[in-house]
Amino acid sequence: MMQQLSDWLTNTPVSQALAGTDWFVPAVQTVHILAIAAVLALLATLHARLLGLTTRAPSPLRLAATCLPGFWGALALLLLSGTLLVLAEPGRELMNPAFRVKMPLVALLAVLTLFLQRGLTRRHWHDSPGGRRLAGVLAAASALLCVAIVAAGRFIAYA
C-alpha cells in the first residue's frame, strides 16, 4: 500500500515540480534542522530541570509554560517541512526503513510530552515526590527518544 501511495505521489504535478527544483530539498531540510534545534533546546531546558540537572532555573511549572508552546509550534513546523520533503522525494522517504522507525517515535514523543504537560500544569506533579519521580522518568524517556529520532532521521540518507 505504501508503495502505491509513493508511486501515486511521485506522479503528482506538485511532487514533480518540487523534485525538479534544485534548491528546494536543501532549503526545506535547513528549516527542518532549525526546527529540530528549537525542539531539542526547549525540551532540554525543561528536561534538565525535571531531572534536577539545573536548579537555578525557574520552577518546572513556569518552564513548562514558557517552553512547551514553542515546542508545539516547532513540532508543527517539523511536520509541515517533513511533509514537503516527503512530497519532493516520496520514494526516498516512504519506502525507507529509517523513516518508518522515525515516524512512530515522533508520535510517541508527542504523546509523552502531552502527558508530561498535563501532569505538570493540571495535576501539579512538581508538588509531590511521586509526581516529581514520574516527571523525571518521562523527561529521561523523551530525551532518549529525541536521540533516537535524530539518529533515525539522519539514517534516512543511508538506509
Partner: protein, 162 residues
C-alpha cells in the same frame, strides 16, 4: 608545506582513512554531529531571543546564560570534534567546497560577534540584566541568530555539493 599538501597529509592519516573506508563510521559521526549542532544552535537561539527581547523575558540574562551556556559549550565541543573527523576523511574535497568555506566564515563571524558582546556590550549588563536589552545587545542577538541560520544552511548545502 602548502595548504593542499596539508589536506593530503590529513587525508592520509590512519584514522581519516578508517573513516573514509568504513561503511558506518561516517554516518555515525554525522549523526552525533547533527545532534550536537542542533543543541548548539537551539541553546544559542534561546539566548539570542532573550537578547532580542522576544522570549524568556521573565528571566535575567545573566541567569539564563549561566544555566544554558555550559550545555552550549559541551555540545559545541562534541559537534566540533565530530566535524573535524568528518573533515579529515575528505579534507581535499571539503577544503575546496564553497559551502564549507562559507560555513567556516560564518563560525568565525559568530565567534567575533560573541567576543564583541562579552567584551564590550555586556560590560554594563547589570543595568539591563532583568529588562529589555539595549540596542547593541539586541543587535548582537539578531546577528548571532542570522549567522547560525546561515551556518546550518551552508552545512546542509555541503551534502548537496560534494
Amino acid at each position: 608545506m602548502s595548504i593542499p599538501g596539508l589536506m593530503h597529509v590529513i587525508e592520509a592519516q590512519r584514522y581519516s582513512m578508517a573513516i573514509a573506508r568504513s561503511p558506518w563510521m561516517f554516518p555515525a559521526l554525522e549523526t552525533v554531529h547533527v545532534f550536537a549542532l542542533t543543541l548548539v544552535v537551539g541553546s544559542v537561539g534561546l539566548i539570542d531571543l532573550r537578547l532580542l527581547g522576544l522570549s524568556f523575558r521573565d528571566r535575567s540574562v545573566r541567569e539564563l546564560c549561566a544555566s544554558v551556556l555550559p550545555w552550549t559549550w559541551g555540545a559545541f565541543a562534541v559537534a566540533g570534534s565530530c566535524g573535524a573527523l568528518l573533515f579529515s576523511s575528505k579534507a581535499t574535497l571539503y577544503y575546496t567546497n564553497l559551502p564549507f568555506r562559507l560555513k567556516m566564515l560564518g563560525l568565525l563571524l559568530a565567534a567575533l560577534n560573541m567576543l564583541v558582546f562579552h567584551a564590550i556590550t555586556a560590560r554594563n549588563l547589570h543595568r539591563w540584566d532583568q529588562g529589555v536589552p539595549p540596542l547593541a545587545a539586541r543587535l548582537a542577538g539578531g546577528i548571532s541568530l542570522t549567522l547560525w541560520i546561515a551556518i546550518v544552511a551552508a552545512g546542509r548545502w555541503i551534502g548537496f555539493t560534494t
